[in-house]
């Protein structure tokens, strides 16, 4: 049961049209090395699930890998502005947005994690989202006869989560905010961890109370230092301002490719032994 594998191998197992839950939040701890490898392997038709996405969703829209986005919010943060490639993809009809209320993504993942077809949601009471989206439905509560809104379960085929520390069994430690990553690891059919550091089982056991994702839930572990760049990874590195501004200025297919390829050395570094474990 060897779980340690290469980025290429892990990504090669992702099927076109797969539903992927991406860890992190906006510009923080997004699994960018994995996302770039999805682009390199020219995956297509992906359905992306996240409460609040940014560069990850924008990049995959830029290379035309996406068919559907289930999210509550897709945008860079204040100083970087709106996600140009995502917007263009939606506005030209190439990508369908299932607009959620962030919480309804959480509810839909909770439904998946408990294997029920839907989750009742308080709060989603008014507005056009309920009518326009077929993953919401209002029914009568059989106990009180009051109306209640349900959101349909979303079962990701794979959750991809970038962490600071993981052992070879897949026991994973997330330092700082966990966002929806723990829930995603329970909702998805398979879990792939990309990690800054692969630590010994002994060291992991010493900090077992910090383990967010126990190894037996994890299918594959990929060692990718700097694997969240250009988004931030707490206690490892901050957002790469220059790279983000560069990406946001790109327009042509060839430019996206060059940008993504410029990370090759970094993304494959650990496999080639260039970076010490």
């Amino acid at each position: 049961m060897k779980k340690l594998t290469t980025l290429q191998t892990a990504v090669s197992g992702i099927k076109d049209h797969a539903t992927l839950a991406l860890g992190g939040n906006v510009l923080h701890r997004a699994p960018m090395a994995f996302v770039r490898e999805l682009a390199r392997q020219q995956k297509s038709g992906l359905r992306l699930v996240k409460t609040a996405g940014a560069h990850d969703i924008d990049l995959l829209c830029a290379v035309d890998a996406v068919k559907v986005v289930d999210a509550g919010f897709v945008s860079y943060e204040t100083v970087y502005g709106l996600p140009p490639h995502y917007r263009a993809a939606v506005q030209t009809g190439r990508v369908k947005t299932n607009e959620h209320a962030c919480y309804t993504v959480i509810s839909a993942l909770r439904a998946a994690s408990t294997n029920v077809p839907f989750m009742p949601v308080n709060g989603l009471k008014f507005g056009d989202l309920i009518d326009r989206n077929d993953y919401f439905v209002v029914v009568e509560d059989p106990f009180t006869k009051e109306p209640v809104t349900l959101v349909r379960a979303i079962v990701p085929d794979v959750a991809v989560i970038h962490v600071q520390e993981c052992d070879e069994d897949g026991n994973a430690v997330i330092i700082g905010p966990k966002y929806e990553d723990v829930l995603m690891s329970r909702a998805a059919d398979k879990v792939i961890i990309t990690t800054e550091q692969v630590v010994s089982k002994y060291k992991m056991k010493q900090q077992r109370d910090r383990i967010a994702i126990p190894g037996f839930l994890v299918e594959a572990v990929v060692h990718v230092p700097k694997g969240a760049q250009p988004t931030s990874c707490h206690q490892k590195y901050d957002v790469d301002d220059k790279a983000l501004r560069t990406f946001l200025s790109l327009k042509e297919k060839q430019e996206f490719k060059s940008f993504i390829d410029s990370y090759k050395k970094l993304d494959y570094g650990a496999e080639r032994g260039n970076i010490r474990w």
């Binding site: 506005q91 209320a101 959480i106 989603l124 008014f126 507005g127 989202l129 957002v239």
Partner: protein, 240 residues
């Protein structure tokens, strides 16, 4: 009365004044101004305000490192306990979130909020970032406060293109004025000292509703001093 303040200072202090001691208050991503306002409140009249945020750091002691983000790990590192986004939503569903700060792109006189699309939902002219938590928080938080750094007739208009949500909207603050949602409509609460009622009307796409023109209170010297101390890098102006 002092005059050496900017619109961002005025807005931040006005927001702080809306918050009461002991309230549980949430802000989302790209929300530097409310974040600073919450800290101002905690450092003045509301020391027991509970500050909640997306990364989950309860009552972060300092926001000086929050820089470009208001969803970063610094808020957790400086926090006194952890309470993640999923839990904050649950809290609001239970009716125990007092105030939520939210955004939006279009607002109409009936209190409808659009953060989704300009044009048709399925084939939009402009795809907006989305309402994030708005669609569940505005109906469930006891008071929803919207802040906008833009005030023009395309933002405040007769009818929004799409109703992302409505509900317990309480106040909207802009660079020109404060609206209050009452009697089923968006009414003018106060206009800022530097503007006129004509200017506000000109920039608003529906007729203003008000009995008399009241002015927003200017920041006090003490508030400006605290702002200087807690937000020396001026994150509160990031959106201006």
């Amino acid at each position: 009365m002092v005059n050496n303040y900017r619109i961002s200072d005025l807005m931040t202090c006005t927001i702080a004044d809306m918050l009461e001691d002991g309230e549980t208050v949430f802000h989302g991503v790209s929300s530097q101004m409310p974040m600073v306002a919450m800290h101002l409140a905690r450092h003045s009249h509301a020391p027991n305000l509970v500050h909640l945020n997306i990364p989950g750091g309860v009552n972060p002691e300092s926001i000086k490192k929050a820089s470009y983000s208001s969803a970063g790990a610094d808020l957790v590192e400086a926090g006194e306990s952890n309470f993640g986004l999923d839990e904050i939503f649950d809290l609001s569903m239970r009716g125990k979130l007092d105030v939520a700060f939210l955004g939006g792109v279009q607002f109409d006189r009936h209190g409808n909020i659009n953060a989704s699309v300009i044009g048709d939902y399925d084939k939009p002219k402009v795809r907006l970032p989305g309402g994030a938590g708005s669609a569940v928080l505005i109906p469930t938080a006891k008071k929803a406060i919207i802040w906008r750094t833009k005030h023009d007739p395309r933002t405040f208009l007769e009818k929004v293109d799409f109703v992302t949500t409505r509900g317990n909207l309480w106040k909207i603050i802009t660079p020109l004025c404060v609206f209050v949602f009452q009697n089923g409509q968006l009414e003018l609460d106060t206009i800022h000292p530097h503007t006129t009622i004509e200017e506000v009307q000109k920039q608003t796409g529906f007729p203003l509703v008000y009995d008399e023109v009241r002015y927003t209170k200017s920041p006090t010297r003490k508030q400006l001093q605290i702002l200087q101390r807690i937000d020396p890098d001026d994150f509160r102006s990031a959106e201006m």
